[in-house]
Symmetry: C2
Subunit: 548 residues, 2 copies
Amino acid sequence: MTDWRSEARLPDERIAAGRAYADGKVVPATRAVALLEAVLRPGDRVCLEGDNQKQADCLARALAACDPGKVHDLHMVQSGIVLPEHLDVFETGIARRLDYSYSGPQGGRIARMLYGGQIALGAVHTYLELFARYFMDLTPNVALIAGVSADREGNLYTGPNTEDTPTVVEATAFKNGVVIAQVNEIVERVPRVDIPGDRIDFVVAADKPFYVEPLFTRDPAAMTETQVLMAMMAIKGIYAEYGIRRLNHGIGFGTAAIELLLPTYGERLGLKGRIATHWALNPHPTLIPAIEAGWVQQVHCFGSEVGMDRYIRERPDVFFTGRDGSLRSNRAFCQTAGLYACDLFIGSTLQIDLAGHSSTVTRDRVAGFGGAPNMGSDPHGRRHPSDTWMKAGHEAQGVGDPMLMRGRKLVVQLVETFGDKLVPTFVERLDALELARKTGLELAPVMIYGDDVTHIVTEEGIANLLLCRDADEREQAIRGVAGYTEIGRGRDRAKVEELRARGIVRRPEDLGIEPLDADRALLAAKSIKDLVHWSGGLYEPPAKFRNW
Amino acid sequence: MTDWRSEARLPDERIAAGRAYADGKVVPATRAVALLEAVLRPGDRVCLEGDNQKQADCLARALAACDPGKVHDLHMVQSGIVLPEHLDVFETGIARRLDYSYSGPQGGRIARMLYGGQIALGAVHTYLELFARYFMDLTPNVALIAGVSADREGNLYTGPNTEDTPTVVEATAFKNGVVIAQVNEIVERVPRVDIPGDRIDFVVAADKPFYVEPLFTRDPAAMTETQVLMAMMAIKGIYAEYGIRRLNHGIGFGTAAIELLLPTYGERLGLKGRIATHWALNPHPTLIPAIEAGWVQQVHCFGSEVGMDRYIRERPDVFFTGRDGSLRSNRAFCQTAGLYACDLFIGSTLQIDLAGHSSTVTRDRVAGFGGAPNMGSDPHGRRHPSDTWMKAGHEAQGVGDPMLMRGRKLVVQLVETFGDKLVPTFVERLDALELARKTGLELAPVMIYGDDVTHIVTEEGIANLLLCRDADEREQAIRGVAGYTEIGRGRDRAKVEELRARGIVRRPEDLGIEPLDADRALLAAKSIKDLVHWSGGLYEPPAKFRNW
């Protein structure tokens, strides 16, 4: 007789064991280690919520403090590897296997631990892809998550940083898993219910509020005139030409400069209402001037951003908010919107090769992908047209049966030819390939493959890869905007001039842009303080961004 | 001074108007028309929940009964156009614009209304794509949804058919919209909270339980030996060869036959545990024998299926269930899993052309796509390898830099060379193109484009399109399995034999399958009654499938 409840009985057993340390569902922070030791079993798949912003840090410390004799060989399945504790657990043997998406600050340490064999790596995913596997073959047995507050029934208020939480909880709670939430406070009644209490088994009253990284704050004071020039080219040569209304911006200074140029340069070009109206974007402070100037109709957010809460509350026509007034973000849905409902993804990268493949992985850092490969890919499953998408499709397909014409997602790389410390962005071969070889990865950690990239923008110009008809043209188009890098100097000058005549390579002057006009004066805000002004004092930047 | 709450004030105004017909949040069915007339405004974007199974039918009738003088020019944004009322509203002028995904029974009427100009069609989407737009540019102002029960605070129990509801509600409730739920009953306490009450504004006590279509029930008694043969070829020639563990099956008899052959033919081939362990699938009754025989580790569901409730409750190790014991389905997450976490999609279609493009649209029916284009596409954003996926990638890419080798999703079309009424499946030109021309669609309603299809299985054999090196080889591979259709008879026999020698076209005998062995005796269940037996009496088929 088959036992059809061998897994389904587990939550009851685990919860019964955990109850010894709880008052109802509530557990004091001092007993978090004991709770985890009671609930966890060796080999469990565990999601320790490490989003790219919000961190379940109290539970991370508790997990790292568990006795490896009791809790060991865990398989961590979480989107962000951000805190030191996320890797400490691999050193002590508490955890052994890892499947993840993003790692900013820990990228160097992960690489060392991979080389050293301390981590058995499954794969580096995009966010949405990892979420997908939560429902397929990487379902967590235990989820350790973070919220702002909870009531005694476990009803959870995540506040503006909802992020991954509903997705993680849904996969875990409905597949015989146990969900433990740390909260900043236990309250009588939560301001809104982000997660119903019947999906939360334990609530740990954390010793301090969960950590959130201001990951999307770019100080306009640090923007260069090169970035202003590139932003002008992107707006005039891409946004205006394709009439891009629905879009996602990456995390860098280049795209932040575009945001700051909309109400100035964009306004002068008469583009208001015609471009950049609908966004899949975190609440970037640098978007404030465009919002205030009436450019932005709607923004759906992956997560929130430190200091933006009051501003968002006062702009409910623009952002998704709850009846409590605060932002409702949701990484899974925003990534889905970025994949299927946006016509443009524009971001940056560290290396681009001659085929247009790009990566943020270097020889000694495994940064992870986050959302870029998802949003920076052409979704073949898309079936709704837009003028933007169809125009890109026409360019890509050239001739062919007009009734079988399809659209294309615009995927733009915005890079300076030389990056930090004058390291060239354009390379013969991605460092990611060398890293894959050394660590034995089956699949090289390429962020965006060349066949998905439609444009590369550098300070030298725009390469339109859609119009290239073979690999040689693509290579020369890339060389043609690669400036004084070795790749750029290796160009076939005659071929690049031919590509320029065909509009495949475009210089600032071809776009009617005078490089000398690329002045910081064009930035709608020149400092964080300016952003605060634009917001009418509603934006409250974190201390490290205040110098006044 | 900009008014930043012109939209955000609307829900309060609408809710205040609706309260006249409510006791708290609760509205009797008799006042549903008055409620809708009070809440709706001309031009509103409205999601009238029409999933592919569950229907908010009480609210559909109420909407159709509204006074077009008060409620008109609505823009309907809903995944399913299934009930007559879904189209009635376009005849009376209550609705004018339509964006949708799927239409089974109403496909003919939609086509006529499109020709007649009664519907202003936005686009025919995939489910996930439409959900994506809910968060971008098709956010509903009002959502009319369906649940099993609610308490007086509006906490909603959707029961096993959760389907689209959480996604629709999230987009609407957090973007200044109003949510109205019809429920079968008002209760003191819901069995579990599928949607928190603070996202639900009104609860309509419906006059009868909402309608659910048993869309995924395939009677084994109707399966033919041709389908058994094709299922054998798929299992031996594709599932076994690629070691497919994570997969999605389409809705037809062909894939249901595969499900029924796993515990018999699959067992004989020694494949148990090596294939078909993790599924993104509705709870198909035809999967019961494979589950009972221990083949299936986990199934995540888009929706539920009529009659499967008791069975699912007793198999919580396999299905995602709530602590109340019943299924928790979720179309958005299951589609995401189908896109990014499955290695195989296999389904059927009505027409395939010489490039492998396929469509279920015919000259007089616009059926919609549902999930097929999403799950039947190669997601370029995928970054986790599997042996299956990498093997397909190697076949597709042939030679090339091994470090830049990528995987490929397997997308299989399982079709008989002649369909219903002996209409040929293989055609020179898809009827979808003619329909697009006549209705002025910008984008032809192609279900799956040829470049995403990896294999075509017919009763004549398997065409492996991954191994084809140019368009001519693809065409001959397709002709080579197109049997006695005109397309099949037009093959270049010598070329097809060459393709066969290279393993691109494979006949049953090439796979070691004797067509005479393709006997209905191989079906683990030969009738619905057999399925009930397999389930130990837990499966309770709807009356129309009972003949004993």
